[in-house]
């Protein structure tokens, strides 16, 4: 077990708290940077997709895990980011500028949705965001003059600093860079007063108000931030798809994003990465499993969504803190060995709160 001797408040503010952190995160960065040399095209592409999911997951986690606002409509922001990026790229805007524009447009729409949904919480908010996603899907399929509707929209070839992005490894490095920057920005927000205000709104709106937090402003900001980051993922996702059509951004994508956040561990940024790995590689595992299963089970329709749903139910029942929570438990088991007790991580009961003001 590690005992930290703290001598300065900066040690609590820094992202990497000690030598161990610096070593392991450094090693991870080296490994992912070296991945293109070791992996084949297929797995590199899959890893790229995982990182795109992770970016979208960071966006959704800020909203769901830290601000406590549920969204079942994040596929819409993914779509808005993807279409904005493709259209602007087609209009001749440089790659980076068009990505920035995609982020800004998504954030703006997100702010609008957040502002409209201010008074809604819980299940009503989930329904409202779901309705918004349906609306977006319909709008994209009807606005043929702009988006091509169901005929689709070819994503133009991008080029960065005069170099055309054609190879898988080029996209991989672009995504990796943006993922690292997104994570840093999100963690920066979380260690400052804005992030604390978001957490405050999640845990108790009434006392957030009484310490001077403007609920409307921070909820709208959280929506805008979340939508902007998801829009960034959408722009990258467009290149992965190569061809955009409304049915690439259905309700199932929204559900998958939410599943990622829940399975990874609500309220932790590392959980996003675990969740993204899970969502990204589970279909591969299922495909491999299919080869060994008897054909009657392997070919059954709806096997994949069924297993996704089953996993979601099991996680919520048995490990509400997700993969990240499980990791914490395993870690403390070894740190405290042989003194670990199950009760250490037992969920504490919340004291009764009778005063419901709103």
């Amino acid at each position: 077990m590690r005992f930290l001797f703290k001598t300065h408040y900066n040690q609590d503010i820094d992202h990497l708290k000690h030598g161990g952190d610096r070593f392991w995160y450094g090693l991870l960065l080296v490994l992912v940077a070296a991945a293109p040399a070791a992996l084949g095209t297929f797995y590199l592409g899959e890893l790229n997709l995982v990182m795109i999911y992770a970016i979208a997951g960071v966006g959704l986690m800020l909203l769901v895990g830290y601000t406590g606002q549920v969204s079942l409509g994040h596929a819409a922001f993914l779509a808005i980011g993807a279409y904005t990026h493709s259209l602007l790229l087609g209009a001749g805007l440089p790659f980076l500028l068009s990505i920035v524009a995609a982020v800004l447009v998504s954030a703006l729409v997100g702010a609008g949705v957040g502002w409209i949904a201010l008074r809604m919480t819980g299940i009503y908010l989930a329904i409202a965001t779901l309705a918004f996603a349906m609306l977006t899907e319909q709008t994209i399929s009807r606005a043929e003059w702009l988006t091509g509707g169901f005929r689709g929209l070819a994503v133009p070839q991008a080029s960065l600093f005069g170099m055309p992005l054609t190879q898988g490894w080029q996209h991989y490095y672009v995504t990796l860079t943006l993922l690292v920057l997104t994570l840093l920005a999100a963690l920066n927000i979380l260690r400052s007063s804005t992030g604390r205000a978001m957490v405050a709104i999640r845990d108790s709106e009434i006392s957030a108000e009484s310490v001077g937090i403007n609920l409307a402003v921070y909820k709208t900001f959280a929506f805008a931030l979340s939508a902007g980051i998801t829009g960034l993922a959408g722009a990258l996702f467009a290149h992965r798809l190569g061809y955009l059509s409304p049915d690439a951004f259905t309700f199932l994508i929204s559900l998958q994003l939410l599943l990622m956040v829940v399975v990874g561990g609500v309220g932790s940024m590392r959980g996003v990465i675990y969740g993204a790995l899970f969502i990204g590689f589970l279909p591969q595992l299922l495909a491999i499993a299919r080869d060994t299963l008897p054909p009657r089970i392997a070919q059954a329709p709806g096997l994949e969504p069924g297993i996704f749903g089953l996993i979601l139910v099991l996680v919520i029942l048995f490990e509400p803190q997700g993969i990240f929570g499980r990791w914490l438990k395993i870690k403390s088991y070894f740190q405290l060995f042989p003194l670990y007790r199950r009760a250490t991580h037992r969920r504490q009961k919340t004291y009764l709160r009778t005063e419901r003001l709103r």
């Binding site: 957490v199 405050a200 999640r202 009434i206 108000e209 009484s210 310490v211 937090i213 504490q348 709160r353």
Partner: protein, 253 residues
Amino acid sequence: MSYLAALDLSISFGGIRAVDDVSFDVEEGEVFAIIGPNGAGKTTLFNLVSGIYSPDGGSVRFAGRDITSLPAHRIAPLGLARTFQNIELFEHATVLQNLLIGRHVHRRSMALSHLLFLPAVRREELEHRRRVEDVIDLLELAHHREQRIANLPYGVRKVVEVGRALCLEPKLLLLDEPTSGLNPEESEDMGFWIEDINRDLGVTVVMVAHDMGLVSRVAGRVLALSEGRVIAEGSPAEVQKNPAVVDAYLGAD
């Protein structure tokens, strides 16, 4: 002009007048207690003053300013902090984070600079942390600093909530039943802290209390409510002897 002045405050929920034409004045630097049997409207009165509810009639003035129609998040920066009867802490955050959230009204940087965590933001964070550590020292919370609220016993949560209110550096502190649910030892500590906060930090305190021992020890003046109306006002000893108060608590004979 008194520091906090409520004039003819009223609010109804459905057919019930929870607070009915209540007026009171609190002078700067005093400890003012509000007592009354269950359902007398004490907490509702607090919610009216702190902007959680807006009154049907009447007005509230604080430090020479009309705050009747201001929302809660605009009242807090004026220097008015409060606690809740049933504890409204941020359960899934640590004690330190809870106290830092209490510094919200003193933030200076914008959300966009937080994305980059500019050097100015770091300097601000260090300043917040120093102020929070002062509160941790005062309330002896150092031992629990890194604990999540969900893992803390009830008594400590009560103290953390007072700590969070103090982090606002308020001029006026509204304490809603600071000793409810505490054991005698914890209640006594709370009494000392209220005295310290009032005397050493110069914070005006208004508290709702059931514990007459605490009220007689720390409060200078007492307001007694029953069924939403003021029934007595004066020093603790006077109010305790007032026949209307005895009636309200024990019933007329």
